[in-house]
């Protein structure tokens, strides 16, 4: 049993601390090492998914392009999204959370150190399965949400098709095989199988991580750190973990039923045999919409740490930010069918899902107002972390507004499956999650490594990112309104799409250049000695109360907390926060 006795577990942890070299990483159960491994691996996949984005944008740069074949294009755009969502953003938040949550709450490690290590290795296995699909020329190619019946293949349908073609001999032209494809042979290849297996490995990994975070946060806080004194990043990791615990099963069920349809002859998504392809959409999106918040809530948490420190003020409206995160968590389970307005839902369902989707804008806007108010009258320091933080607020606001537009059903009809949706998701995920990631990266890098990233290169990266993402993604709004469908491998000229696509491609390469600057910055910084101080930003929270990087046991002594800003209290004994709290 995983949890034997505390003594055995303590010994295991102790052993893993004293090991060095590669073995110390492979066998580690230390939350900081596991966190770093998550971050490295996820960042590798960020580069991998980024190269795929460049391939997509190169293909779309000019009309009638044949840089990629349609088959390659399908694999590349599907894997771009799958990798960025499941192998980059989700695990990088797990990495940040792993490293930071125990430090922020004054704990020594996560609640289940060995389960934590298992989660990382399952994540790596899922990443390898998904990436290996390219070697078999069978990368998932039905889009990241793998809609049935496109992903269906009844067993034996391929052999039937071949037999039919043999019988018809010369008559077996493209038209007949296409017609037979409609009878259940949509995806005869292994592409969806790679997706199902990879996604489920990643799902189990995420579930172990989520359970670990929840128990850690609920049960391991330092003395005095009540729920209402937890750093907001910890709050958001907790809400995210609850979302994972309750949302992942929908994805597991959806993909299991698909697997059975494909290989065991069941009929769940086959309308001709009493199934229903819409079942896939309901199941997938009842995971998929909470998933959007799984990708963005930790970003909210990071911004709620970075903005106050660089504004020299406590966060404005702590309670509102914390509980609006909880509200978003609950609401995120009630909005899934806004992804399905165009499939013909009953009007009452459309009205419900349009309303609930609009409702979710309220807690989100609450956060934006709080962040802006945090900077109000602050002594703002424009370090790179702060620039990314402010950039996040502006860009995420655009992503929120165009998202709210999609909640309007008649408008949604018009832009469903066009580039407008692509614009929205990229303002949320690039303008939101990625900007927050770099805010957090520049902020915590000294804690992770004992070294400060170069601010000059960081500034250049920030401006390349800000300009690049608007060049890449803003024109997509217009392309969507002009009717350009997503997921088409090329387009004819003369539809007014040419210039906008070219601008978007230039933006994508600008982003790539910015990313390159970060990679250079990273390697350059890592060659330098560890000179960062324990608290280089004059911060407020406990992770800065220990050394940079922290010792294996995190804190030499148990920290005792009396307010939301324990480190501020320590540095300002003449006027600590707890004097003002009741």
């Amino acid at each position: 049993m995983a949890v034997g006795s505390v003594a055995t577990q303590g010994r295991t942890v102790q052993q893993s601390w004293t090991r060095t070299g590669i073995g110390s990483w492979v066998t580690t159960t230390d939350h900081k090492k596991i966190g770093v491994m998550y971050i490295y691996t996820a960042f590798f996949f960020f580069l991998f998914g980024g190269v795929e984005a460049l391939l997509v944008r190169t293909q779309l740069a000019v009309p009638n392009n044949h840089f990629l074949t349609p088959e390659q294009y399908d694999q590349v755009f599907t894997m771009h999204a799958t990798i960025m969502i499941f192998l980059f953003v989700m695990p990088i938040w797990t990495g940040f959370g792993n490293y930071l949550v125990p430090l922020m709450i004054g704990a020594r490690d996560m609640a289940f150190p060995r389960l934590n290590a298992l989660g990382y290795w399952l994540f790596l296995a899922g990443g390898i399965v998904l990436s290996a699909s390219f070697l078999f020329n069978a990368a998932p190619n039905a889009g990241w949400f793998s809609y049935a019946p496109l992903t269906e293949a009844t067993p034996g349908c391929l052999t039937q098709q071949i037999a039919a073609q043999g019988a018809q001999a010369a008559a077996a032209n493209a038209a007949t095989s296409a017609a037979q494809g409609l009878q259940g042979c949509f995806s005869p290849g292994q592409n969806p199988d790679f997706w199902i297996v990879g996604i489920n490995l990643l799902g189990i990994a995420s579930l172990t991580g989520a359970i670990n975070f929840v128990v850690t946060i609920l049960r391991m806080r330092a003395p005095g750190m009540t729920i209402n004194r937890m750093p907001l990043f910890t709050w958001m990791m907790m809400v995210t973990s609850f979302l994972l615990i309750f949302a992942l099963p929908s994805l597991t069920v959806a993909s299991a039923l698909l697997l059975f349809d494909r290989h065991l002859g069941t009929h769940f998504y086959q309308a001709s045999a009493g199934g229903d392809p819409l079942l896939w959409q309901h199941l997938f999106w009842s995971f998929g919409h909470p998933e959007v918040y799984i990708l963005i809530l930790p970003a909210f948490g990071i911004i709620s740490e970075v903005l106050p420190v660089f504004s020299g003020k406590p966060i404005f409206g702590y309670t509102f930010i914390a509980w609006s995160g909880v509200a978003i968590g609950f609401l995120s389970f009630t909005v899934w069918a806004h992804h399905m307005f165009a499939v013909g839902l009953p009007p009452i369902a459309q009205a419900f899902f349009a309303s609930s989707t609009t409702l979710i804008a309220i807690p989100t806007a609450v956060k934006i107002f709080n962040w802006v108010a945090t900077t109000y009258y602050g002594r703002i320091r424009f370090n790179v972390a702060m620039l990314f933080g402010l950039g996040f607020v502006a860009m995420f606001l655009i992503g929120g507004l165009n998202g709210a537009a999609l909640a309007v059903v008649p408008f949604d009809y018009q832009v469903t499956d066009t580039y407008f949706v692509v614009a929205h998701i990229h303002y949320v995920l690039f303008g939101g999650s990625v900007m927050a990631l770099f805010a957090g990266m520049y902020y915590w890098f000294p804690k992770f490594s004992g070294r400060m990233l170069n601010e000059g290169l960081g500034q250049a990266q920030f401006w390349l990112y800000l300009i690049g993402l608007n060049l890449a993604f803003f024109p997509m709004h217009i392309l969507g309104l002009l009717g350009m469908p997503r997921r088409q491998f090329t387009y004819p000229s003369g539809l007014g799409w040419d210039t906008l696509n070219l601008i978007s491609t230039i933006g994508a390469f600008t982003l790539a250049f910015g990313t390159l600057l970060f990679v250079i910055n990273f390697f350059w910084t890592m060659t330098k000695p560890r000179t960062a101080s324990d608290d280089p930003w004059d911060a407020f929270t406990l992770e800065w109360a220990t050394t940079s990087p922290p010792p294996p046991e995190n804190f030499k002594t148990v920290p005792v907390v009396r307010s939301r800003r324990p480190l501020y209290d320590k540095k300002h004994p003449e006027d600590p926060d707890w004097r003002h709290e009741h």
């Binding site: 049993m1 949890v3 034997g4 006795s5 505390v6 577990q9 303590g10 942890v13 020594r108 490690d109 609640a111 289940f112 150190p113 389960l115 579930l207 989520a210 359970i211 670990n212 929840v214 128990v215 049960r219 615990i245 309750f246 099963p249 929908s250 597991t252 069920v253 299991a256 039923l257 059975f260 065991l264 002859g265 069941t266 009929h267 769940f268 045999a273 009493g274 199934g275 229903d276 079942l279 309901h282 199941l283 009842s286 406990l542 046991e553 804190f555 030499k556 002594t557 148990v558 920290p559 005792v560 907390v561 009396r562 324990p566 480190l567 209290d569 320590k570 004994p573 600590p576 707890w578």
Partner: protein, 202 residues
């Protein structure tokens, strides 16, 4: 009261606070996720059934339900020895533990044997129609959970023969008990929606 982050000489151990252990909380959240998993399966079934309306195929009659009904009683009754086993080790009674565990294993295995009999004698299979798909998928996932539970119980039983558990150290027993009761509870719901709701006239 100057330093708020007080320096004490006590090193923080990876110790659990008083009350329920980490493992108990971990199990609760794991089983919560499992419950949502089965809820999704059942919701999928009900969705398909409502969408199909009168076209929904029926295979369960009053004779077909006798065997699964007996099986249900067997699985439910297995919760008692499980409960007494866990109660026993809570008092430090290793005999009660060993006896309770093996009795639970036997009852769980009888349930699985009954399910195997039902599967091999079924007039329909997963590809016959949509009811076949639903029936075998839902009972199959549950059966897989029972199988895992029986194996988990067997391991605990073997360890209990070696005296691995004591009054103060028996988390695995608590975990397997929670898991077993959960699997029982899921079966009650599955039996109701799959068999009882499929009877003619219901």
């Amino acid at each position: 009261m100057s330093a708020v982050i007080e320096r004490t000489e006590v090193r923080q151990e990876h110790a659990e606070p008083k009350g329920r252990g980490f493992g108990w909380y971990g199990m609760v959240f794991f089983l919560a996720s499992e419950a949502v998993f089965f809820a999704n399966l059942i919701a999928s079934y009900l969705y398909l059934r409502v969408r199909a309306g009168s076209a929904w195929p029926h295979h369960v009659g009053y004779t077909e339900i006798i065997l699964p009904a007996i099986n249900t009683l067997i699985l439910l009754s297995s919760s008692f020895p499980m409960h007494f086993a866990a109660r026993g080790i809570g008092r430090g009674d290793r005999k009660a533990l060993t006896r309770g565990l093996i009795l639970t294993v036997i009852l769980g295995s009888i349930f699985l044997a009954g399910q195997a009999y039902e599967y091999t004698h079924s007039p329909f299979n997963p590809s016959t129609d949509i009811f076949g798909s639903v029936f075998f998928t839902l009972t199959g996932f549950h059966g897989a959970h029972v199988t895992f539970g029986v194996l988990f119980l067997l391991v605990c039983w073997l360890r209990s023969l070696n005296g691995s558990f004591s009054k103060d150290s028996h988390f695995a027993i608590n975990a397997v008990e929670m898991y077993w009761h959960f699997v029982d509870a899921v079966w009650i719901v599955l039996f109701t929606v799959l068999y009882v709701f499929s009877l003619p006239g219901i």
